[in-house]
């Protein structure tokens, strides 16, 4: 674990948004951590390992929202760093559309994955959380992406995801489907979804980049 992580978590526990944001951005500016490290070793675990104290049960959801909001702000603030990095790397000339399906409000993972796609040289577009099936199919028609990446967290949303991936395969058979997110940890889930790539880590997108080079 990065030695700065503890300091970061302390600020988050205090719910000090200003200090948390400055701390994270300072780590990037001073090159103490890379973007990838910030995303995977700081921002993601700050959420996935978040547990409520027993005595704070009633305000748990509220605390979770507060933390998510801080993490989200940091994530958006890293965008200039992404642009800087992207200017240094060779473009792949491959388009990716990334989204979460309807009723799926967990989007931090999807936004991180979007940034990873950009860092890997893709032309990547995050089209949003809670995206209705027909809007997804229209977006695929309009953007004509090479890849559609779908992030699913909630287990029930596998149902709609199957309809989406079946719809894409039927109407746009050349578009490659990438799926990821915590929902696919459920038994049998991934085997029943049409897909070309299933990845658990955001950093796995570098493997796809290698393949298409």
């Amino acid at each position: 674990m990065n030695s700065n992580y503890e300091g970061f978590i302390k600020l988050l526990d205090l719910e000090d948004k200003d200090k948390s944001v400055n701390y994270a951005l300072e780590l990037l500016k001073s090159k103490k951590v890379t973007l990838e490290e910030l995303y995977l070793d700081f921002l993601a675990p700050a959420l996935t390992t978040f547990v409520c104290q027993e005595k704070e049960k009633e305000i748990c959801i509220w605390k979770e929202h507060t933390r998510t909001s801080i993490i989200r702000t940091i994530l958006e603030c890293t965008y200039p760093f992404v642009i800087e990095r992207r200017n240094e790397i060779k473009k792949l000339h491959k388009k990716v559309v990334i989204l979460t399906p309807s009723e799926e409000y967990h989007e931090i993972g999807a936004i991180i994955v979007n940034h990873f796609f950009m860092l890997a040289g893709f032309e990547s577009q995050y089209i949003g959380a809670n995206t209705p099936k027909n809007d997804i199919l229209m977006a695929v028609k309009a953007y004509q992406p090479d890849f559609v990446a779908i992030s699913v967290t909630n287990y029930y949303n596998i149902v709609i995801t199957k309809q989406i991936t079946d719809g894409i395969k039927k109407n746009y058979p050349n578009v490659k489907i990438i799926v990821g997110g915590q929902a696919f940890l459920q038994h049998g889930a991934i085997d029943q979804i049409s897909h070309d790539y299933y990845m658990q880590k955001a950093s796995d997108v570098f493997m796809i980049a290698k393949e298409v080079k």
Binding site: N154, Y156, H187, G188
Partner: protein, 231 residues
């Protein structure tokens, strides 16, 4: 956990002159104590499937194994005995007798089968009404109860025979979201307390996403079958 119920290659064709095939070679097994949801579009065959599971209807072909017994080899009498002792039913419309009290409705399975209502039986009925949170209104006529209360009476009634399995067809279909949540909590409580297996048809996302398993039926076939990793 062993399976309490199993379906093997179940097909169902309705009608003789004009035939409609509704189920196509369904294979499914349900583990003891599990909490399952069945979802799918209107007309996909969910109720047909549940009625076959509960042996209220016979399949055109295939085997149903309840508690390890293949129902094919049973006589009608044996089958209805097996059903009465192992399966409880809850429907969207609860079919309470309106002119009877909540307590009398819960005791109805005993009245109908003309079994004596002993003190133990009466105590148990009262306890069940307690569990479903209706102690205060148990002597009200069903007709004077709210939809959610009536549904809870129906749940208590379905538990009267201590069934190992409860089959529910849209148990919250005509309830508001608060009552839906209450009924779900109640079913979960029974599931934990008695280890009862639940197979619930639902159009309600909030029920399905809390189940341990989601089975989706599409055009008479299993389209999706997922089980929670920590279930």
């Amino acid at each position: 956990m062993p399976n309490v119920m199993e379906l093997k290659e179940i097909t169902k064709i309705y009608g003789t002159k004009i035939q409609t095939q509704v189920l196509f070679g369904i294979n499914l097994a349900f583990e003891e104590g599990s909490f399952n949801s069945i979802i799918g579009q209107s007309g996909s065959g969910k109720s047909t499937l549940l009625n076959i599971l509960g042996s209220l209807d016979r399949p055109t072909a295939g085997d149903i194994i309840i508690n390890g017994k293949n129902t094919k080899s049973l006589s009608s009498k044996e089958l209805s005995d097996l059903r009465n002792e192992s399966i409880g039913f809850i429907f969207q419309f609860h079919y309470l007798l309106p002119e009877f009290t909540a307590l009398e409705n819960v005791l109805m399975p005993y009245r109908i089968s003309k079994k004596p209502i002993t003190k133990e039986v009466l105590d148990y009925a009262n306890e069940l009404l307690d569990i479903v949170g209706l102690t205060k209104v148990k002597n009200n006529l069903a007709i004077n109860m709210s939809g959610g209360q009536q549904q809870r009476v129906a749940i208590a009634r379905s538990l009267m025979n201590n069934p190992k399995i409860i089959l529910a067809d849209e148990p919250t279909g005509n309830l508001d979201s608060d009552s839906t949540e209450q009924v779900y909590e109640l079913l979960r409580k029974i599931n934990h307390q008695f280890g009862t297996t639940f197979i619930i048809i639902t159009h309600d996302r909030h029920i399905a996403e809390k189940a341990d398993r989601i089975v989706e039926i599409k055009d008479g076939r299993i389209n999706l079958d997922i089980t929670k990793a920590n279930a």
